[in-house]
């Protein structure tokens, strides 16, 4: 397990390095770094000073080392707009995005797994066909438009749920969370559902395909030959097997969910990282953009690592190979 972990960590570090090079090249080699990293409102002296500090007069490879060194110290530049360190700005907004993404993932599993299971066990029933048609719709519906329609119906017409914002938050572990207050939770319902729409469809399809495949396996027939009840066969023998691919894909999708939350956060004015990045792009606050990219890459890698480990915990075959 440790060897396996170590190998994965080294791989992850390599990818981070590669991505940092890519971001660096994007900012320094293609764009004009002076324009990108120094506020347009800065005067000549300030510019000179910043150019010195960022080492923009050095050769490119030295500049990269400076960039890397700064990044390692957590210095990814200052936001022109907020005049705060870009990294800090993003980290402040991270809890909002994380809780939204987790909420969406949980919703996708709670809604998608039972529906997919049903559709897989009774593939020819009318309800199953309805579920599958619904999942095509879930793939096709433009997320942002569904968000607008949700606001339209549940906030404007019915007045059941608040339309925008995070609502009340409480501070736990030095971060502010909405899901721990009733009001915050009410604010979270629509954005989370909106964000999970695509994932619900995904989970339904994966589960259904998995169930149909597993039901044909000899070990399911053998389980029936042992005289097990249908409930036990479905819930233990089939379910545990399909959980592996579903968890893997949903886990890997978590990064995508965080990325896609830029849309949902914009629709629901949810003050997370996604809304921040859109606002920053619109006012060309480039240090924030660079910092956001690096953070996202880091998050992706962490997620992949966690998924790998979870996967190996779920599947005994992988777990043992790692040990050997």
């Amino acid at each position: 397990m440790t060897v396996f972990l170590l190998r994965r960590l080294i791989q992850a570090a390599a990818v981070v390095l590669a991505m940092s090079l890519l971001v660096f090249l994007g900012v320094y080699a293609i764009g004009d770094p002076v324009e990108i990293l120094i506020s347009p409102e800065a005067d000549q002296i300030e510019r000179e000073r910043a150019i010195q500090a960022l080492g923009l007069d050095l050769p490119l490879w030295q500049q990269y080392l400076v960039f890397l060194g700064n990044a390692l110290r957590g210095d990814l530049g200052r936001s022109f707009v907020f005049n705060e360190p870009a990294l800090q700005l993003i980290l402040q907004r991270m809890p909002a995005t994380l809780e939204l993404a987790v909420g969406a993932t949980v919703a996708a599993l709670i809604i998608g797994l039972p529906l997919g299971l049903y559709a897989g066990l009774r593939p020819n029933s009318t309800l199953s066909k309805g579920i599958m048609a619904g999942s095509i719709l879930g793939f096709s519906l433009p997320t942002f438009w569904v968000g607008l329609m949700l606001i339209m119906v549940f906030a404007v017409q019915l007045g059941w749920l608040p339309s925008t914002g995070r609502g009340e938050t409480v501070e736990v572990l030095g971060m502010r969370w909405s899901f721990l207050t009733a009001n915050g939770l009410a604010h979270m319902v629509m954005p989370a559902i909106n964000l999970s729409l695509f994932k619900i469809s995904l989970v339904i399809r994966l589960t259904r395909a998995g169930v149909r495949e597993t039901m044909l396996m000899d070990y399911v027939k053998f389980a029936r030959a042992k005289g097990l009840s249908p409930t036990r066969i479905t819930m233990v023998h089939v379910f545990k097997n399909i959980l592996i691919p579903v968890v893997t894909v949903v886990g890997l999708e978590f990064g995508g969910t965080i990325a896609f939350s830029v849309v949902t956060e914009s629709v629901f004015a949810w003050p997370g990282m996604g809304k921040l990045i859109i606002d920053s792009i619109n006012v060309l606050d480039r240090p924030v953009m660079v910092a956001y990219l690096m953070i996202i890459v880091l998050m992706f890698i962490t997620i992949n690592l966690i998924v790998d480990i979870t996967y190996s915990l779920l599947d005994p075959r992988v777990r043992l190979e790692g040990k050997a």
Partner: protein, 306 residues
């Protein structure tokens, strides 16, 4: 449905020559839903192409707009005597006309980027499969990197650096989509390459380009068509999303996404139509393409055939 054809006496089957294309058409038509999708999409495409002759109003022609007609409800008659069946937006633009012209832009961007991405991706995939070795692993690394990074983010970043504009949107979409085509073509080409007829063709000392265009490409076509159809739908949705976020097409050329964004602020005051109808148009377009794509995948995928 199909049991009647399967049970047909051999004489009848022999009378009607079964070409692969005929079989493809009849298998495709087995799904009524897919057929409906195809018809709907054809109508949408036709409407988009014929926009200047169909739309009640030219939404770009400022002379035709009257700010006094702003935010009229669906069905009301404006100052110029036109009935606005789907209402008007804040500038007095007829929504129906706006949607018809918006469709034109959405479809152009979607199809255009899909075709370009297909050209780029297919060429690179073919190169990877044919060159092998380092070229192959370099290209495939790029593909993996591209596919592991969410499309929306990559597109956002590209547009953030390039700025708005139809061409820039197309570039961004090509960048985020070429990898799907590359992977598809490489996979198929690798399988096909090993087939005997390629060996035979090589023995005959045919030039490489002939092998690629005459032998490899035709075999890569079915999976490419499937991926392409799905990617057009994806491109349209992505363009709409980017435009909604204010990073896609410019205000002067409103696609469906931008129309929806324009209605956002009026939504809270109950003026739903400005966002609602363009969204429906978008939804119908994407669903119809996906229905066609789904069926194409089932028909063209040999693995699914029993």
């Amino acid at each position: 449905m199909s049991s009647t054809t399967a049970g047909a006496p051999p004489a009848a089957a022999a009378a009607r020559v079964e070409t692969p294309f005929r079989r493809f058409v009849s298998e495709f038509a087995e799904s009524r839903l897919a057929l409906l999708g195809l018809v709907v999409f054809a109508i949408i495409a036709l409407v988009a192409i014929l926009a200047p002759w169909i739309a009640p109003q030219n939404p770009y022609d400022l002379a035709q707009l009257d700010i006094m007609d702003g935010r009229l409800e669906p069905g009301s008659v404006g100052g110029s005597g036109i009935t606005h069946w789907l209402g008007t937006d804040d500038q007095g633009r007829d929504m129906l006309s706006g949607i018809i012209y918006g469709l034109r832009i959405s479809l152009t961007v979607g199809a255009g980027s899909a075709i370009l991405a297909c050209l780029v991706g297919a060429s690179l995939g073919m190169l990877a499969a044919y060159a092998g070795g380092r070229t192959d692993s370099l290209i495939m690394r790029l593909v993996d990197l591209q596919l592991s990074f969410p499309a929306i983010l990559a597109a956002l970043m590209i547009l953030a650096f390039l700025g708005k504009g139809i061409l820039n949107v197309v570039i961004a979409l090509v960048v985020v989509e070429w990898a799907y085509y590359a992977r598809t073509v490489r996979g198929t080409a690798l399988v096909e390459r090993r087939r005997e007829y390629i060996e035979a063709a090589q023995c005959l000392a045919l030039p490489t380009h002939r092998i690629i265009f005459r032998h490899l490409l035709p075999n890569c076509l079915p999976p490419l068509i499937v991926v392409g159809t799905m990617q057009i739908a994806r491109a349209i949705a992505l363009e709409a999303t980017l435009s909604f976020l204010g990073l896609g097409v410019p205000i002067t050329e409103p696609s469906l996404g931008l129309l929806i964004a324009n209605g956002y602020e009026y939504m809270l005051s109950g003026k739903y139509w400005i966002s609602f109808y363009p969204g429906i148009a978008l939804l119908v377009t994407i669903v119809s393409i996906n229905l066609v794509g789904d069926q194409l995948r089932d028909v063209l995928n040999p693995r699914l055939k029993k």
